[in-house]
């Protein structure tokens, strides 16, 4: 009896997993880390996004961003890294209402490079986290912003 129940349970679990995978948008959206994106301070955002990981400061990450920005609505930012086996590159703005701005998961074919444009609410440190071989490494740069761009 126990065996049969176990089998049924297994069967049910299997079929619901298949049904779940058919719900494309739901499955895709599950990858969006709600807790990390809703976090209102940098430490909360980092621990939600990199659970049980300790960030290591690295000089192998280069952030290209102007030190002084007139309009925070459009802040061009470029990230280059010499770290090997890069799995992801994420951008955080410490003083934004929600510090996690964007994350890029890179396949092994990708170079350690990303360029984009972000919004900054005011002067803040911009923190970039690169995950390499499962370990998050970070570096930050201070940016002066004259007019906040989160409106």
């Amino acid at each position: 009896m126990i065996k049969r129940r176990y089998l049924l349970k297994l069967l049910f679990a299997g079929s619901s997993a298949i049904a779940y995978s058919l719900l494309f948008p739901v499955k895709v959206l599950a990858r969006w880390n709600e807790a990390a994106y809703a976090a209102e301070n940098i430490n909360e955002a980092l621990s939600a996004y990199y659970p049980n990981k300790q960030l290591i400061t690295s000089n192998k990450i280069n952030i290209t961003v102007r030190p002084e920005i007139e309009n925070g609505a459009v802040v061009p930012i470029k990230v280059n890294t010499d770290l090997k086996n890069v799995e992801s590159i994420a951008i955080f703005v410490e003083k934004n209402p929600n510090p996690l701005i964007a994350n890029f998961d890179l396949s092994p074919a990708c170079k350690g490079f990303i360029s984009t444009r972000i919004k900054m609410d005011g002067p803040s440190d911009v923190l970039v986290v690169v995950v390499s071989d499962g370990q998050p490494y970070s570096t930050s740069k201070s940016v002066m912003v004259h007019a906040g761009g989160c409106g």
Binding site: P25, S107, S115, K119
Partner: protein, 103 residues
């Protein structure tokens, strides 16, 4: 017409891809000039680029990616004519997809 524009450049098997997507990326803090009402948050959450059917980059974004998002990345093992497919989904469940070939 798709609201996605993709430009690619090949050099020694490395593709440099640049994409711009027409999207308001509303943060939920902005106010409509005419109605004086707050514009609800509306932004792209996830974006994926596939190279010949395989995912090369997948992005998860917040509302703090600038309006009409721009991003660029590079990947190896690319040849002229390879297929590139970019798709996104936003907070309203709206999606868009574009297929192009590497130039």
């Amino acid at each position: 017409m798709s609201a996605i524009r993709v430009r690619s450049h090949l050099k020694d098997g490395v593709a440099i891809v640049e994409a711009i997507i027409r999207h308001p990326m509303h943060t939920g803090f902005g106010v409509d000039e005419d109605t004086k009402e707050i514009i609800p948050a509306h932004y792209i959450k996830l974006l994926t680029v596939k190279h010949n059917g395989n995912t090369v980059i997948s992005c998860d974004w917040s509302r703090a990616v600038s309006k009409n998002p721009y991003f660029s990345f590079m990947f190896e093992g690319a040849s002229k004519g390879d297929e590139l497919e970019l798709s996104w989904i936003d907070t309203e469940g709206e999606t868009d997809v574009i297929k192009t070939n590497l130039e």
